[in-house]
Amino acid sequence: MTKTRVPAVEGLFTEVDGVAHLIGAKVPDRESYFFPAHLSGMAGGDPGAIGAELEECLLSNKGTVWSYTTSSYTPPPPFVANTEPYEPITIAAVKLEREQMVVLGQCPQGITPDDLEIGMEMELTIDVLHEDDEHAYTVWKWRPVGAAEGN
């Protein structure tokens, strides 16, 4: 049975023509970006843009590895493990060139630190975070460019 895919948290990411994007915010006419958009606050924290109305924007879906690590023990709630027993997850911090910012994300299951190195090109994908009987809850993840499609 195919489970219904729903975002684990609404409003943070989307897919446009099959391409995954994070939904960020931006100061109009200014290269100041923020993520997540709904927690960007007044002017997104940019003291050079006080009073600006932020506009929603899609962030770059590719970047380069700034650093990476693992969560080798099960994180506490609200995290829900998708495997039993828990398998360590790999986490990448990816630098977006246009936005000049670093965004965290899990890597798809099966990618380990041995598969990554700093500076490597990564792309965003939408993948399963965890599942219950009816739903597959989705989240953004970072995978090396050219890596196999996630599930």
């Binding site: 684990a8 948290v9 609404e10 943070l12 100061v27 200014r30 290269e31 100041s32 970006y33 923020f34 993520f35 997540p36 709904h38 927690l39 924290g45 940019d46 003291p47 050079g48 843009a49 700034w66 650093s67 990476y68 690590t69 693992t70 969560s71 080798s72 023990y73 994180p75 506490p76 709630p77 609200p78 995290f79 360590p88 997850i89 986490i91 911090a93 246009r98 936005e99 000049q100 910012m101 670093v102 965004v103 965290l104 994300g105 899990q106 630190p113 190195e117 700093i118 975070l129 989240v139």
Partner: protein, 395 residues
């Protein structure tokens, strides 16, 4: 700004005692008050550091300690700024003394910490960044430490052995500290054989969470002299600066950094700016420092501080460690107390405990972990959630 006198320090031993946090705080406060030779009824201000893990009594920590010590009509406040809470409480006390509200103040923080990872508040909280990072990324605190360590390896050539040597050094110091929780001496293999928590960091690279309490009695230099404290250890500078936009180092609890797309990164990063501020206030520089207590939430973060506080140039921390410069007996001993690796973090007490250790060092009361001839000491405390702190003490 004038220096502030520290005329009493107190500390409950760190451990996993499981008792009420107020017990640890009042134990430390009594010790500090006795040393200060201050009548409790003369203390006009109580500045508490908040614990968020012990219900309402923790949120009103100042009042909880005041009541436990016996309400004396003093004014009171409670401060929370994550790991920097203790120094925020100290800063409040300094303001009250220098504005003439009180002659002498008690600063106290204590915590009882549950086992396991520190975690966010319960419930469905998508508007809470601290909740989102656990929910969507599985980013525990050690994940951020692991990202930092991997970066240090790639940029500066640090090795797992270097990280292990930080733990080994601090464990050797802690053997001589009866107030530390972990007093076993470790070797490099012990660290390298401990399980990976957040690659490349292992269990023994990362600090635990503990119960503990620490207190200071502070006053003006004139008031100190009136009590017969003619040459007290003095606070020459305090810092609780926030980052300057854009802060491009990923740190708790954020899932994305600021963007440097429109504004260039500041010349000095957030953690560098924490120390810069106390040096400026004290009119001293890194070359004047004899001893330091820095926030080794992880071993690699201790190495960062050598550079961020100006003890060596960027990228040279590993060499400084390998030379033995930061061991007791070296050029600039760091974490003679044993640091967080030996204590485990008791959040609201920790920044105060760092100051306690430096006071003992500057008084020559540190026993077998004494840094000979120490006259100037500095603390530094990890900036989490935009918070961080530093205190410069001198004699």
């Amino acid at each position: 700004m004038d220096d502030l006198a520290i005329i009493g320090v107190g500390m409950h031993p760190w451990g996993k005692w499981g008792r009420n946090f107020a017990e640890y705080g009042t134990f430390a406060a009594r010790e500090a008050l006795a040393e200060a030779r201050v009548d409790w009824r003369d203390v006009g201000y109580i500045s508490g550091a908040i614990t968020v893990r012990n219900g309402y009594p923790g949120y009103v920590a100042g009042s909880t300690f005041a009541r436990a010590l016996g309400f004396n009509g003093a004014q009171v406040s409670s401060s929370y700024s994550a790991c920097a809470s203790g120094v925020t409480a100290l800063q409040v006390a300094r303001g009250q003394i220098f504005s003439g509200v009180t002659e002498v103040a008690l600063v106290v923080g204590a915590d009882t910490t549950p086992k396991g990872f520190l975690k966010p508040n319960e419930g469905d909280r998508p508007d809470d960044l601290d909740w989102l990072r656990f929910k969507l990324v599985g980013a525990t605190n050690p994940v951020y430490f692991g990202l930092n360590a991997r970066r240090r390896m790639d940029v500066f050539g640090a090795t797992s052995e270097d990280f292990a040597r930080v733990k080994v050094k601090n464990s050797r110091h802690a053997v001589h500290n009866e107030r530390a929780r972990f007093t076993k001496e470790y070797d490099v293999d012990d660290v390298l054989n401990s399980p990976v928590v957040s690659d490349p960091l292992r269990l023994l690279d990362i600090c635990a969470t503990s119960d503990g309490g620490a207190a200071l009695v502070v006053c003006s230099l004139d008031y100190a002299r009136s009590l017969g404290h003619d040459d007290p250890v003095r606070i020459g500078g305090l810092s609780t600066v926030t980052p300057t936009y854009p802060d491009t180092m990923i740190d708790l609890p954020y899932i994305a950094t600021d963007s440097a797309g429109a504004t260039a990164e500041p010349l000095r990063g957030f953690k560098e700016s924490i120390g810069d501020k106390v040096y400026e206030e004290a009119g001293l520089g890194p070359e004047d420092v004899d001893v330091a207590e820095v926030y080794d939430l992880s071993s690699s973060l201790e190495l960062d501080w050598y550079e961020q506080l100006g003890f060596c140039a960027e990228g040279e921390a590993e060499q400084m460690l390998r030379n033995g410069d930061t061991e007791i007996g070296g050029r600039l001993p760091v974490n003679p107390s044993g640091g967080l690796g030996a204590f485990g973090e008791a959040v609201p007490a920790q920044a105060i405990a760092q100051v306690c250790e430096l006071v003992w060092q500057l008084r020559g009361q540190a026993g077998r972990r004494q840094v000979e001839g120490a006259r100037v000491g500095i603390t530094a405390n990890q900036g989490l959630f935009g918070h961080g702190s530093s205190v410069l003490v001198r004699r």
